[in-house]
């Protein structure tokens, strides 16, 4: 009997058993609060689910417990000050938050960072991807009861955070990107350290692949669970690994022209056709591995030169509107910047990835069982600051 047959049979048996129990006991609907302080929520997301027995019939996430009003606050700040705020949107991959905003400002000012700055930006961008996604993977395993993977994740993420700290001075909120380039060049010896760390991260990826992804319990809990078809994923604006896990071959690092260095190296975009929890997590794992390859290649070919273009001391962005989005660890993150020629933006619309990724939750949770709610949320992988902004 193949794996799929067995799974279908067990699902049928479970449904039959449910039907029997429901008839015998006449279970009434029950409303259950998951969160706001549930360990599976990476912050304070509250999800209200209405249950019929063990099955979810209706689910609704309640956002706003961490809304900080960044779109209002940026209107009274200057462009360099905005950088400090937007660092805190996705706090596990902070550097990646800065890049699209800076690129949008640079597009409006019609300047471009020097090549060395573009390379270092891309390296730090991918490092923040590793620090974000590797923790997400370890955490997903933790939700399923495998504690080891979470400890591995924290251990190996430390190497990456040390690198980020050595280069920028900040572990979580680097605030390192400037309009026109970067604050500083890389410290001496950083490249060699990075190569060592990347080897460790690749080992971590292999470890997780054998430890978690080859595990029978993990497969049983994630395969065929929380399936999001391609059309639904596109309609809800899912992005990043969630979209590629539904079989859409679209990666903003590859599919648009940006003054960054992703096109200077050789790497692969992974997709998975199934659209279930397993495929989303699997794409994340592959993405982490590819990120280490990107970092390695860019460290090899890092050009010399300045890291800062010539910009005026007081930055005034010319009047206009610009939209730039990049493939952040959580998905597509973009900024719509409206400038009136002032020292600060007139309006900034922050399009964060988790906001769209979580808006699909009422759709995908309908009909699943309670324990699967946790695995689906872990596989969608969100950061609260990225939903609430």
């Amino acid at each position: 009997m193949s794996v799929i047959d067995r799974r279908e049979l067990s699902a049928l048996a479970a449904r039959a058993a449910d039907a029997r129990v429901n008839v015998e006991l006449e279970t009434e609907g029950m409303t259950l609060n998951i969160g706001p302080q549930h360990p599976a929520t990476h912050g304070t997301l509250r999800i209200i689910v209405r249950l019929d027995g063990e099955q979810v019939v209706w689910a609704e996430p309640v956002c706003g417990y961490m809304h900080r009003g960044y779109e209002k606050l940026v209107e009274v700040r200057s462009y360099p000050q905005v950088n400090t705020l937007i660092n805190r949107i996705d706090w596990l991959g902070s550097f990646a938050n800065e890049v699209p905003f800076i690129l949008a400002c640079e597009q409006l000012m019609e300047i471009e960072a020097p090549p060395r700055a573009q390379y270092i930006r891309t390296i730090l961008f991918e490092l923040s991807r590793i620090s974000n996604v590797s923790l997400g993977l370890g955490d997903a395993a933790l939700q399923l009861g495998a504690q080891t993977a979470a400890f591995y994740a924290f251990r190996d993420r430390e190497y990456v955070l040390n690198l980020v700290e050595a280069a920028t001075g900040g572990r979580f909120h680097p605030n390192f990107d400037r309009i026109g380039g970067l604050k500083d060049d890389l410290p001496k010896g950083w490249i060699d350290e990075t190569k060592v760390a990347m080897r460790k991260v690749r080992d971590y990826c292999d470890e997780i692949e054998t430890l978690v992804f080859g595990n029978e319990i993990f497969e049983a809990r994630t395969r065929g669970i929380g399936v999001i078809p391609r059309e639904v994923a596109l309609q809800y604006g899912l992005s990043g690994a969630n979209l590629r896990g539904s079989g859409v071959d679209w990666d903003l690092r590859r599919d648009q022209k940006l003054p960054m260095a992703w096109d200077k190296c050789d790497w692969k975009v992974w997709t998975h056709p199934d659209g279930d929890s397993f495929s989303r997590l699997w794409v994340r794992l592959k993405e982490t591995y590819e990120a280490t390859l990107i970092v390695d290649q860019l460290c090899e070919s890092l050009p010399s030169g300045p890291v800062m273009a010539k910009v005026p001391r007081i930055i005034k962005v010319p009047e206009g509107e610009a939209w730039i989005s990049t493939e952040n660890p959580l998905g597509e993150m973009g900024y719509y910047v409206v400038s009136k020629g002032d020292t600060g933006p007139f309006r900034v619309k922050i399009r964060s990835a988790s906001f769209n990724n979580i808006s699909v939750v009422p759709w995908v949770l309908r009909g699943v069982y309670v324990p699967d709610v946790i695995t689906i949320l872990a596989s969608l992988y969100f950061i609260l600051g990225d939903i609430d902004r």
Binding site: G64, Q235, K349, F355, N356
Partner: protein
Amino acid sequence: MSPLPSSAEVDDRRAELLARLHDELGEAVEGTHELAGKDLWVRVRTDAWREAAEVAEGRLGMTYFCYLAGLDWMPSPFGKGEDDPTQPPPERSTEIVQGYAGGSTRFQVLARVHDVQRMVGLTLKTDVPDDTMAVPSWVPVYAGANWHEREAWEMFGISFVGHPDLRNLYLPTDFEGHPLRKDFPLLARIVKPWPGIVDVEPMPADLDGEGGDE
């Protein structure tokens, strides 16, 4: 996988999109703005807002819904909240100037859709009539617009006709006002003056009367 199209190719695709939008929507396309190598903005009439989404999703292949947001074009009466509270408030311009693709109302709605196969995106805008403050909802076309419209509703007070469940997303249900409107004061800056202005001490050179910037 198709190779990354050059900027000229993407511009051609944008021009083609624009021509098809003109064909499908006719006079409902009220303003356009094209920046070569960057982006395309199209403003449609308010009553054709839903139709624009249907055309984009159904016939132009823009199946990926990126975001939807409100815009308030009135200059803030509070400036950047850096006024000296001991002085009378300075005169500020109240002229409402719309951005790319023009417009005639204070509020606008903008949305972005994307074609993931042809790698080309489009920003759509529409005016929000000042009297009704209502535009057609996009939820029947793009299900993902649901939360975005709820956010625009609470933050700007723009109502979306045909939205299944238009209530606050982030704010408490009894919250009064619409925080992202420009005339909604940022209280933190009003109750306590911004230290950037108050705390500046004169440099020794200024005290001596030898130079200084101003």
